[in-house]
């Protein structure tokens, strides 16, 4: 998973895609996950880290992150890369 390099995310959850002019709002978990993606963390690292702080099982978390990834791809926020 890689975020397109020109995309800016604020801590408050505002995301701007300058290439298209579209803006988005993220909830705090969305921001946290996008930041981890930016830092190059793997899915496993993300689920481990989040489940330490939040009341959620690994399997639900994994499903939710996969689902989130689908939306990010649909909105053109993730790089299309074949090898993740």
């Amino acid at each position: 998973m890689r975020i397109k390099s020109n995309i800016a995310i604020s801590d408050s959850g505002f995301l701007l895609n300058p290439a298209t002019g579209e803006s988005f709002s993220l909830n705090p978990m969305g921001v946290a996950i996008l930041k981890m993606v930016k830092d190059g963390k793997s899915l496993e690292e993300m689920t481990q880290e989040i489940s330490q702080d939040f009341d959620v099982s690994l399997s639900i978390l994994e499903r939710d992150i996969e689902d989130f990834k689908g939306t990010l791809t649909q909105y053109g926020i993730l790089e299309n890369s074949k090898n993740d």
Partner: protein
């Protein structure tokens, strides 16, 4: 250390906040309690899905409707439209409030009798009254609203046979400026059919012409047509006064008030745009009072309001089965509520709210039911918070027609419970079981066994 509450990640494109076809923001404000009872407790005790009826709301809405008419006209009588919801507990709330019964079949007629309604307070409408139905209605002095001439002639024969005077009215259809015109029931006003029928009745001298009836349509989004309808019925009453010195006892304007639901494809919610009881009452009563009906013989105003009296009191509680995404990435949520029990989702954009608190983050969601059928869509576009499997939702304004038109299809029909004025819950219809279905089947002997 206790862990923080989790909410699944979400991202949403920022668009302008005008009301749009995806619904208004207020829609997803959670409804955790109904009349003080927690939704999650109702589901725990009675299962999901489950219909919930608020007795308090029925009584409030009824009183509001009655007030709107009674402050404008001295003689007002409601008759509960059985087909709208004939669960007996619900009928009896209306009857306790003073409503008579309005029925459209032999089955509904018997149901009203079983509920204890005196025969002379049952209005019998509809095109399908059998000879036996009519005989019973004549014996009981019920108010028979004649739909067609074949029915008239049957009543005439029965009057001779029984030596009784049937209490009759005619149903009139008419142009009220709303199209398509409902002209399949009753006798037409503009082309003279209605007058012909009235003349036949008066000249026969075998029955008592007690009223004039119309039901101009359902979910009428403006009040004006009711003014036109009331004026046309009043005109017939004046004609009877002049020609026969006959005074009808009542004028029945039927049902059809729109209520607070929102039609599919409407941009603004019905609760904001539809006329109020006061609007309808104003048009109807001023048309009657301004007519040439003699004030000494002012007829009763009968109303057969259905959906507008019961919709608001009905809720359908359900549970999220699963979340998925469509091929184009749209959020799809599967509920345990199917179109077979929420028939009105074909016409309405039902208001649907979560039953638990969420953050303000939402997604545009397509809500599917549990049936393995492509048509099983409850809402095509609704802004909902980030629901998880097991979360509960509340569908609003489902009191009318769902509990009479529902289908046993693929799944069994659920329980209906009523919350009384003290917040106590009563089961007013049991959930169906395998026996409710299989008891009605038969098995030919040669089909009882097989080897596989």
């Amino acid at each position: 250390m206790s862990k923080k509450k989790y909410e699944r990640p979400s991202i949403k494109r920022i668009e302008n906040e005008m009301p749009n076809k995806f619904g208004l923001r207020s829609e997803y404000k959670p409804m955790t309690h109904i009349d003080g009872v927690a939704v999650k407790d109702i589901i725990k005790e009675h299962g999901s899905p489950v219909f919930v009826i608020s007795e308090k709301t029925i009584r409030q809405v009824y009183k509001d409707a009655m007030r709107a008419f009674a402050i404008r006209y001295p003689k007002v009588q409601f008759a509960w439209s059985y087909k709208t919801n004939y669960l007996s507990a619900i009928c009896n709330v209306f009857h306790q409030e003073g409503s008579w019964a309005e029925v459209v079949s032999g089955f509904e007629y018997d149901k009203a009798l079983n509920n204890g309604i005196p025969g002379n307070k049952i209005i019998f409408n509809g095109p399908d009254k059998t000879r036996d139905d009519l005989k019973k209605a004549i014996d009981n002095k019920s108010l028979i609203h004649i739909d067609h001439l074949d029915e008239y002639y049957t009543i005439l024969e029965l009057a001779d046979e029984t030596g009784l005077r049937p209490q009759v009215a005619i149903r009139v259809n008419m142009d009220t400026g709303v199209y398509p015109m409902w002209d399949r029931f009753g006798f037409n006003y503009e082309n003279g059919q209605a007058w012909d029928a009235l003349n036949k009745i008066m000249i026969s001298k075998k029955m008592d012409l007690v009223g004039l009836h119309c039901h101009i349509g359902t979910y009428m989004m403006t009040a004006e047509p009711y003014g036109i309808a009331a004026a046309k019925l009043a005109d017939l009453a004046v004609g009877l006064q002049q020609k026969y010195n006959h005074h009808v006892k009542y004028i029945d304007l039927g049902g059809g008030f729109a209520g607070k639901n929102t039609l599919k494809g409407a941009y603004l919610p019905g609760s904001d745009t539809n006329p109020s009881f006061d609007d309808y009452a104003e048009k109807i009563t001023s048309a009657l009072i301004n007519s040439n009906i003699s004030p000494d013989h002012l007829p009763w105003l009968f109303l057969e309001t259905g959906r507008a009296l019961i919709d608001e009191a009905g809720f359908l509680l359900g549970t999220v089965i699963a979340n998925k995404r469509s091929s184009i990435g749209k959020r799809n949520t599967i509920l345990d509520i199917g179109v077979n029990i929420l028939f009105t989702s074909f016409w309405y954009q039902h208001k649907i709210t979560p039953a638990q608190e969420f953050t303000h983050h939402t997604e545009n969601t397509m809500l599917y039911g549990p049936l393995c059928m492509n048509i099983d869509v409850i809402r095509e576009n609704v802004e909902l918070p980030l629901l998880n499997p097991g979360d509960h939702v509340v569908v609003h304004h489902v009191g009318a027609y769902n509990m009479t038109q529902w289908m046993q299809f693929i799944t069994l029909r659920p329980k209906v419970v009523m919350i009384d004025l003290e917040g106590k819950i009563h089961v007013i219809r049991k959930g169906e079981s395998m026996n409710s279905i299989s008891d009605y089947e038969g098995m030919p002997k040669h089909l009882t066994d097989f080897k596989l």
